[in-house]
Amino acid sequence: MSDAILEAHDVTVEYAARTILKIDRLAVRRSETLALIGPNGAGKSTLLRVMGLLERPARGEIRLDGRPVAWGRDLLPARRRFASVFQEPLLADTTVERNVALGLALRHVPGDQARRRTGFWIDRFGITPLARRQARTLSGGEAQRTSLARAFAIEPDVLLLDEPFSALDPPTREDLLRDLQRVLRETAVTTVFVTHDRNEALRLGDRVGVMLEGRLAQLDTPEVVFGRPAGPDVARFVGVENLVPGRVARASDGLLAVDTGTLCVQVPGELAVGRPVMLCIRPEEVVLQPGPTRSAPDSALNHFPGRVAELVPVGMQVRVLVQCGRPLIALVTRRSVHDLSLQVGSEVTLSFKASAVHLIEREDIGASR
């Protein structure tokens, strides 16, 4: 018996003869939180609707506990094993309390039990003082809390969350994210969470799936997806800003020297000389020091001399574009920029650990397309 509670097999969705979703296999494990990330229009929400039995795919099947779902008149019992929260709270025009109780009322849960569960989840999401308020008088954050409480009160086998925080301002989002994180950990309810925010996926996801153009490009632990993306498109989406094509020039003792045309980068790995590769280096891994390069590159560290070409503040950090034969990006703190007196034209040494480089074999990329 597999531990997959919900699976999609060879699922295809087409609108106007255009394939917008094509999933060979996706298995959601019992009690895990699976985060699906990807740019807008990648098919994330469509996949969520199909898995939640709200939209019938053109082809393929959905399995619940290993058994294929029959898309017919008796779909309702299967659909009632799910609960969904969407980007918009979409509450009924009544009180908060009645909204939270709605899923239970639809399932004819007896009054006592329904009241107990409603009260519990209203309290759990911190909206007890609002229980008797009309839903339409709520703020965005309060409404989304109500929507979450409504979904949890159902105590579903699978919880589906479709960008539930996208419409909220950052402080509200942060509060709600923290509460949700705690509730997910405590209840261990199987959850599929769709977002275009990489940080949300990193915080909530036991596993992360990256969707690109209707396909599941990679599905793995957050460490692997963010550290060793399966292809350049995934790498770009998960925030690997430095993608450098090159070719293996030397290989010895598990260490490769990759020639990028302008730089020679040391990377751990086992590949034949001459193989084309793509180097992925996260900007957080790149360190800057002032002045010209003193030490020669060694097996652990790559050093390159360069000049600062651009400084772009991003929140409390600064993206520094360094021209060192080819442009590379470093993400440093505002404090470092000040301490190192970095400005456009500054001479710097750019370095990153050999182990911080992730290699993608470019032939594999070609084959997977």
Partner: protein
């Protein structure tokens, strides 16, 4: 001017004096209009909701027909209902012509498209995402219809007002299928026409004032109901 004042004074007199005939006419008007509006709601709300939600080939045509029906001239309705109920007509054996039931039938034909059209509009303005969300928390088909109707209940009060307002004030159909028979099918509008024709302007004015007051009261009650629950 004096004519109007006389009319008002006379009307107050008729009301205060609880003139039996005027009361009976008013009561019948209310009864007939309320019954036909009630029946129109029973027909129009499910029908409007279904048309709003269903996707079928001739949908645009059906919606156009409903919208046209909202402006159906009462005389045309009166004519066709008369033909149907005529002694030798298809439904003549029911012997309903010139009874209050006949008026109810004609008014139902007038009010049903109004209620259907306004329900359709009310349900259509609920975002499609709401429907998906209700299904996503476990609504069956029947529950979904009920939830959507409940969600549209405030704009739908407009359907009740428009339906009732349409039938309580129409004259053509009531006259043709009811016949303005004293003590049987005489309603406020038909009585007003008759009294005006006879030159009894004072009585006619009294009757119109009563009609206005009745319409106003019903609409006022419904409006209070509707506005009470509007966001501030």
């Amino acid at each position: 001017m004096e004519l109007i004042w006389d009319g008002v004074r006379r009307a107050v007199g008729l009301l205060i004096g609880l003139d039996r005939e005027v009361l009976a006419i008013t009561w019948l008007s209310l009864q007939v209009a309320a019954t036909s509006t009630g029946l129109a709601l029973i027909v129009g709300i499910p029908l409007g909701t279904l048309i709003a939600l269903a996707r079928f080939p001739a949908r645009a045509l059906v919606i156009s027909l409903v919208n046209t029906g909202m402006g159906l001239p009462p005389v045309v309705v009166g004519l066709f209902v008369s033909i149907f109920l005529w002694r030798s007509g298809p439904l003549g054996f029911l012997e309903l012509l010139y009874t209050p039931t006949a008026i109810v039938i004609a008014q139902l034909v007038i009010a049903a498209p109004i209620v259907t059209g306004l329900t359709l509009a009310a349900v259509q303005q609920i975002p499609p995402q709401f429907r998906l969300q209700m299904e996503a928390i476990g609504a069956s088909r029947a529950q979904l219809l009920w939830l959507l109707v409940r969600e549209a209940r405030l704009p739908m009060l407009a359907a009740v007002m428009a339906g009732f307002g349409g039938v309580v004030s129409e004259i053509g159909a009531s006259m043709m299928v009811g016949g303005n028979i004293r003590g049987q099918t005489r309603v406020l509008t038909t009585a007003t026409v008759m009294e005006t024709g006879k030159g009894n302007f004072d009585v006619a004015i009294a009757l119109s004032l009563i009609l206005l007051a009745v319409t106003f009261l019903v609409n006022y009650l419904l409006t209070v109901l509707q506005q009470r629950r509007r966001p501030s």
